[in-house]
């Protein structure tokens, strides 16, 4: 049995071993959050389906019919839904995780577990919602007669990228929110703002050339475009340089997030 050393100077070498040891906790916390969400509700799990459907209908009417955004020959609802899926995943991860540490303050101050578990499990909760909505997407595609091609398999790596983007942003927000409670108000604003700046209601093709690179720094741009491409067919194109920029932003955000979170973790129990 190796010696466990707690030192004021050095950082813990066994942290990552602990994460493996506590691996089941990731899913337990996500399971708890999901269970609690639907306890004592009548409609229950159906909410996971109704919300994206309603959003899609509203978007279709406003952006598709009134604003008349071009949709490149693909049924507008599919275009919107394919983009909304990753965006909802990202947005709800942000919202849930930024509060994850604060709302579990009593656990943080009384029990030891690697705190990284908390934002991770919030992202897992959003992932479950994503999977439910994904089933809905397949149903819609069949309804509108959009062919289900092999390109759908590209969704798997794209999902991984979306997950990493969400997790990276979550780490930053969760850690920052413990120290500066302002972030509780900033996050909904970021989400709102992000919804209009990301290609959910519109397609990336309408963005003028000179702004494309700056626009691609939004980490979800690459992912959403990728989703659209995988779902719809040869009509949509991926703008590769933009995609790589998004990817780079995601990697920086994730590694920075892990670094910042680990640095602040030692003070969570004192500050929360």
């Amino acid at each position: 049995m190796s010696l466990l050393i707690i030192d004021s100077e050095k950082s813990e070498r066994h942290y990552w071993a602990d994460i493996w040891h506590y691996r089941e906790l990731f899913f337990f916390l996500a399971w708890r959050d999901i269970l609690v969400r639907y306890k004592q509700t009548v409609i229950g799990i159906l909410w996971a389906v109704i919300r994206p459907v309603l959003t899609m209908i509203v978007f279709t009417i406003i952006f598709g019919k009134f604003a008349k955004m071009p949709s490149e020959g693909v049924p507008y609802p599919i275009l919107v839904f394919a983009a909304m899926l990753p965006w909802q995943f990202f947005a709800s991860s942000l919202a849930e995780s930024s509060n994850s540490l604060i709302s579990n303050a009593n656990m943080i101050s009384k029990v030891y577990f690697p705190r990284l578990v908390m934002p991770f499990s919030s992202v897992v909760v959003s992932l479950v919602d994503f999977l439910i909505s994904f089933v809905l997407l397949i149903v819609l595609m069949l309804f509108f007669g959009v062919p289900l091609t092999f390109k759908l398999f590209a969704l798997i790596p794209l999902l991984v990228v979306a997950f990493l983007a969400s997790f990276g942003a979550s780490l930053w927000l969760a850690a920052l929110n413990v120290e500066y409670r302002d972030f509780r108000y900033i996050v909904p604003f970021i989400v709102q703002f992000g919804l209009y700046v990301s290609p959910v209601g519109f397609s990336s093709t309408i963005v003028p050339e000179k702004w494309r690179m700056l626009y691609a720094m939004n980490p979800m741009v690459g992912v959403i475009d990728g989703f659209r491409w995988a779902v719809t067919g040869a009509e949509a194109q991926i703008f590769w340089p933009g995609f790589l920029v998004s990817l780079l932003v995601i990697v920086i955000m994730l590694s920075g997030g892990i670094w910042y979170f680990r640095k602040m973790e030692r003070t969570f129990a004192d500050v929360i």
Binding site: M1, L3, L4, I5, I6, D7, S8, H21, Y22, E24, L25, F28, R32, L35, V36, K39, Q40, N104, N106, M107, I108, S109, K110, V111, Y112, F113, E179, Y180, R181, D182, F183, K263, M264, R266, T267, A269, D270, V271
Partner: protein, 429 residues
């Protein structure tokens, strides 16, 4: 595995207290403040170049530097300072001390919930901490769901929880209520369930913080016997923080007394417990300030000459803001570790007592030649009437008692007790 389970070396934990001078009563740091600090840093750097090196900024635990501005000042608070001790494998150590001595902070450091500011801890073995009963319990989830959740939070694997599920439920005695949301449980059921999960943790080292403070007598008995089981039968190392001194005495083999963040005494549990309670004054009398609206005990005195003779005579001075028709003082005598020995009040020893009709006065309790063995004892005094208690002074004063006829060999009072039965022994066959 080595013999030492836990080794603590020069442990220190410092907190920085932020005192808000004027304006803003927030305890949280807002981004706005940090931005303001950052914006004025170049200005401060300029002026600090002209200041002496003694006025350097304080460092907060997060590493951020907070300039003592006109709005607030910082103060260092050492919750633990230079604490060092070793715990041998299989020992049951009781950690005692007054509120604020640093006991919970020490446990938090051992449980890795917070990081030390200085020093080092070495732990050989897996540590399981129970700092609060029912951590992570969610009121909306059912009893069985919470068992899994709480078990996972405390570090058990799902398979492990499944294996022990029936044992846990049997210990908690909540079989019928497993599918009810925990918010519907009575507080007793809640605590039994929470403790049951924690009690079945498998670990080499168990750290427990005052969890026996809540719960009814039945629950406390159950917890204590389970912990004795864990310590003596399983041979696990146990660290136990409690204010219940008799529980500490029953469970632990050694003790650590913390005072003001430092170790005051460490060693055999009996001597540590005595050191804790002998911080209570051993003088002839103790005085208290009178309160204006409420009846108060203003002085408690033990007659020293009476003590010389082997009698216990206690004088209680009182001051009343309004007349009380039936004034009832009460006295309880206990051992240094808090075991009650005897007590009295003029309700059950009423011969010759008439309630005083003045607002100030002294009441005297005399116990002639009390049948107790010699030793140091503590007094607790109450002041009441038939309906309510107005003033209480627990462990107010201690006295050294020597009975009139001193026994030649002092018995072990922990085995024999404090009462002297004045028995006679004869060989009859």
């Amino acid at each position: 595995m080595s013999d030492t389970a836990i080794s603590v070396q020069n442990l220190g934990k410092k907190y920085v207290l932020l005192h808000q001078a004027q304006g803003g009563g927030k305890g949280y740091v807002a981004l706005r403040d940090v931005v303001m600090e950052l914006a004025t840093v170049p200005f401060h750097k300029l002026t600090s170049a002209f200041k002496s090196p003694l006025s350097k900024p304080e460092m907060l635990p997060s590493g951020r530097s907070l300039q003592p501005s006109a709005r607030s000042s910082t103060e260092e608070f050492w919750a633990l300072k230079d604490v060092s001790f070793d715990v041998k494998r299989g020992d049951a150590v009781g950690i005692i001390g007054r509120n604020g001595a640093g006991k919970s902070t020490l446990l938090k450091l051992l449980s890795r919930i917070t990081k030390p500011t200085r020093g080092r801890i070495e732990i050989d073995g897996r540590i399981a901490s129970l700092l609060e009963v029912g951590t992570g319990f969610h009121p909306e989830l059912t009893g069985s769901e919470n068992i899994y959740l709480n078990g996972a939070i405390l570090g058990m694997r799902r398979a492990e929880i499944k294996r022990k599920f029936d044992e846990i439920v049997a210990f908690a005695e909540v079989e019928r209520f497993l599918d009810t949301p925990v918010k519907r449980y009575s507080s007793g059921m809640y605590m039994r369930l929470a403790f049951a999960v924690a009690a079945h943790l498998e670990s080499n080292i168990l750290v427990v913080d005052e969890v026996l403070a809540v719960g009814d007598a039945e629950f406390q008995k159950k917890c204590l016997s389970k912990m004795q089981n864990v310590s003596k039968n399983d041979g696990r190392t146990v660290l136990f923080v409690s204010h219940n001194l008799s529980a500490v005495r029953a469970l632990c083999t050694s003790g650590i007394l913390l005072e003001g963040g430092q170790i005051k005494k460490i060693g055999e549990v009996a001597s540590v417990l005595d050191a804790y309670s002998s911080s209570v004054q051993a003088t002839a009398q103790v005085v208290f300030p009178a309160r204006t609206e409420i009846p108060t005990i203003t002085r408690i005195a033990v007659d020293q000459e009476g003590l010389e003779r082997g009698d216990l005579i206690v004088d209680i001075d009182y001051q009343l803001p309004f007349p009380i028709p039936m004034l009832i003082p009460g006295v309880a005598v206990s051992s240094p570790s808090g075991v009650p020995v005897f007590g009295s009040n003029p309700v059950f020893h009423k011969e010759g007592y008439t309630s005083p009709n003045t607002l100030n006065g002294t009441i005297r309790m005399s116990v002639l030649a009390p049948a107790i063995f010699s030793g140091t004892y503590k007094l607790s005094i109450w002041l009441s009437d038939f309906h309510k208690t107005y003033d209480v002074r627990l462990d107010a004063i201690s006295f050294d008692f020597k009975p009139h006829q001193r026994p030649l060999n002092l018995p072990n009072l922990e085995v024999i007790g404090y009462l002297d039965p004045c028995a006679t022994w004869r060989s009859i066959k």
